[in-house]
Amino acid sequence: MILDQLILPWLLAWLMAGLGAYLVAVLDRWMATGSTQAGSVWLAPLASAAWLLTQQATTTEAPDAGAWRLAPALYLALAATGLALVPWSPTLVGVDLATSLVLWGSLEALATVVIFLHGWSANSHLALIGAYRYVALGISYLLVSMFVLIGVALPAESLRWTEVVAAQESLWHVVSQPLGLPLFLVVGLGLTFWGPLDLADSTDLSTGTAVERSGPPRLVWALARAAMLVAFSAIAATAFLGGWMGPWLPGPAWLLLKSLAVLVVLLWLGRRLPRLAPERCLTLMWVVLLPLSFVDLIWAGAVALWMA
C-alpha cells in the first residue's frame, strides 16, 4: 500500500519534473539557435545548471526569511503535485482524488501566492513590481482557466481526471470544444510566465521576481518554472487530447507523445507571439479572453446536452 500509494507517485512526479525540465531547456535553446550543432544544445543546460550550483546564493538586506528561502521550493512542489495528478493509464495515476480537476485549479491559485511571495520576500523594488504584475495578471488567468476546466468536466459528469479522459472515448475535447485548448494554452503561458506573458520575470525588470536570486535557489526557480510547464502540458493533453487513448502504443506512451506535442507548441508560441505591455495584457484577458471562456463553457454545455 505504501509502495503504490506513496512512493510510486512520488518517484513518477519527480522523474517527470526533472527530465521534463531538462527537455524544456534543450527544446527552448534549440528553438532559439535553430540548430543542434555539436551537441551543445544537449550539454549547455547541464553546464549552466552546474555553474549555478557552484555559485554563491546571495541574499538581500532584510528579506522575509521564511518566504525567501521557501518560495522556489514551493513552486517546484506545486509543479510536482500537478504532475502527480496526471493519469498515465486508467490505473496508473499518482493521486486519484475524486476532485483532482479542482485540485489542479487550486494549484494554479496557489501558484499566484507563491510567485507573489517570491517577489515580495526579496525586499527589493524590481522584484516587488514583478510580483504585483503577476498577481494582477494571475487573477485574470485563473478565471479563464476555471471556466475552461468546468467545460472539460461537464461531459465527464465528474471532477476526476481519469473520467475526463474516459469521456473522450468517442471524440477528443479539442474537437468538441474548439475554443478550450487555445484558451488553456494562454493560461499555461501565463501560469509559468513564459514567452510573451513573462511579465513577472521579464527583462524590462531585469528578470523581475528573480532579480535578487543567484546560485542554487535560482536554479531551483528555473527548474520549477520548466517543471510547471511540463505539468501543464501533461494536464492539457489529458484534458483536451484524450490522455492515454490511442491505437497500437500503450497508454503512458501516448500521454508522453501528446504532452510533448503540447510542450513544443507552447514553447513555439512563446517564441512567436508578440509581447504586450502589462496593462494591455490585462485588458486582453478581461475583455477578450474571459468572455471567450464563457462562450466556451456555453458551447461545452450545449454539446454535452446534444451528445447525451
Binding site: 532584510a62 482524488l97 475524486a98 485540485l103 515580495w120 525586499n123 504585483y132 487573477i139 485563473l142 471532477l159
Partner: protein, 210 residues
C-alpha cells in the same frame, strides 16, 4: 469509517499547523505575513476536510482561500503601515479583555464538545460525497444555492457602487486628502497646485482627468 494510523498522524500535524498559524496571524510584524499565515491555517483545515472524505470542500478551500488571501495581502499593502515587517508592529486595544474573551469562548465551546452528547452516525460505507453534494446543490437545496448566487451578485453591484469614484452627486472622494506623514500633519504625496492651474480647473473641470 475507521481512520488508519496515517490519518491520525496527518490529523495531528494539520491540527497543530492550523492552530499555530492561526495564532501567528495576530502576533506577526507584517500584514502580508499575517494574511499568508491565515492562508496556511485555511489550507490545514482544508487538508483535515479531505481526511474526513469531504474531498470537494477541502480542495475548494484551497483555491477559494488562496485567491482570497492574495487579495487580502494586496489590500494590506495598500492600507497598512509597515508592509514589509521591518519594524515591530502591535496595533491592539483592550487586549486583556480580548484574551479573556477568546479563552472563555474556547473553554465554553470545547466544554460543549467534550461534555455534549452527539449522535454517533458515521458516514455510510458506500458514500460518494462529491456526487451527493452536487445532487443537493442542484436538487433539493437549489433555492439556497441560487440565493447565495444572487446575494453574491448583489454584493458585486454594491461593492462597485461603494468603491466607485463617481456618484450621482459628484466624486466620491471629493474633499478627501491623503494622510499626513505624522498624525495631523500636512497631506503627503500631493503636489501643490499652482494658481493658474486652479483658475483653469474652475472653468472646465470636465476636461481634466485626475
Amino acid at each position: 469509517m475507521t481512520p488508519s494510523l496515517a490519518t491520525h498522524i496527518a490529523f495531528v500535524v494539520l491540527a497543530a499547523l492550523a492552530v499555530l498559524s492561526g495564532w501567528r496571524v495576530f502576533c506577526t510584524d507584517s500584514m502580508v505575513r499575517a494574511s499568508f499565515f491565515l492562508l496556511l491555517s485555511f489550507i490545514a483545515v482544508g487538508g483535515i476536510m479531505i481526511l474526513l472524505t469531504a474531498e470537494y470542500l477541502g480542495v475548494a478551500m484551497f483555491f477559494m482561500m488562496a485567491v482570497e488571501m492574495m487579495v487580502m495581502a494586496l489590500f494590506m499593502v495598500m492600507f497598512m503601515m509597515n508592509p514589509a515587517g521591518l519594524n515591530p508592529m502591535k496595533m491592539v486595544h483592550q487586549e486583556r479583555v480580548a484574551i479573556v474573551a477568546g479563552v472563555a469562548v474556547f473553554g465554553v465551546l470545547s466544554a460543549v464538545a467534550v461534555l455534549g452528547d452527539f449522535p454517533d452516525m458515521p458516514l455510510p460505507a458506500e458514500h460518494a460525497p462529491v456526487i451527493s453534494l452536487g445532487r443537493e446543490l442542484l436538487g433539493d437545496s437549489m433555492l439556497v444555492f441560487e440565493t447565495a448566487g444572487v446575494v453574491l451578485l448583489t454584493t458585486m453591484v454594491g461593492v462597485v457602487v461603494l468603491s466607485s469614484r463617481r456618484g450621482r452627486y459628484g466624486r466620491a472622494d471629493e474633499g478627501s486628502v491623503p494622510p499626513g506623514l505624522e498624525p495631523g500633519g500636512e497631506p503627503a504625496g500631493r503636489p501643490k497646485e499652482s494658481e493658474e492651474e486652479k483658475g483653469e480647473e474652475g472653468g472646465h473641470a470636465h476636461q481634466h482627468h485626475h
